[in-house]
């Protein structure tokens, strides 16, 4: 595709509900990243994939967070039993390979009520 596409753009979840956030990277991009961004703050790294392999998940805040990229293209970030502190913008980025320019999607704004 022309750019990184994330869906949904906005998600409101009741506390305790499970959510799934989707990322469609730029076609052919090997590296894919997920970040969490609080309002007015810099993005915080969550996890990184190279093709279908999740090479680093050190930034996932708890075991309620799970990410997958089963075919090395589309990725899903799943949050189980959402809590209010999970409210944030979740950004996905992709790059051709790790050390090349990363392109970001518009993000999914998650609000947990």
């Amino acid at each position: 595709g022309a750019g990184v596409s994330q869906s949904p753009r906005y998600k409101v979840a009741k506390r305790g509900q499970d959510v799934a956030l989707r990322c469609d990277p730029i076609s052919g991009h090997v590296s894919l990243f997920w970040y969490q961004q609080a309002l007015g703050q810099g993005p915080e790294f969550l996890t990184y994939f190279q093709n279908e392999a999740q090479l680093d998940k050190s930034g996932l805040p708890s075991d309620r967070f799970f990410a997958e990229r089963p075919e090395g293209s589309v990725s899903t970030l799943k949050i189980q039993r959402t809590q209010q502190e999970d409210s944030a913008v979740y950004l996905c980025a992709s790059s051709f390979v790790l050390d090349t320019e990363a392109f970001f999607g518009q993000g999914t704004r998650l609000t947990v009520v």
Binding site: Y35, G40, G42, E44, Y48, L91, L98, G105, Q106, G107
Partner: protein, 111 residues
Amino acid sequence: TQLLEQSPQFLSIQEGENLTVYCNSSSVFSSLQWYRQEPGEGPVLLVTVVTGGEVKKLKRLTFQFGDARKDSSLHITAAQPGDTGLYLCAGQPSRGNQFYFGTGTSLTVIP
């Protein structure tokens, strides 16, 4: 926990003024990037610096990487309202690692 601290956190200036944003860390980075992010959008890459002491210019923006590769600065000359946004630095601890973002500087340029 973010490795890179940016200052100031907020900056509001008049059109035509100059400004500098700082990005500091106690860690050494193999490369450092600067991004600009507008509301409702993802960050967009402005520049990548890789050599200690390197200076890059992009029109009215001047980026400098510290000699020890632990810090960087972004200087904007004659700021314009279109420069308004969240400026982010991001450091790569070593090649083959992902980038870690700074705390961000929110810039507002008043016409």
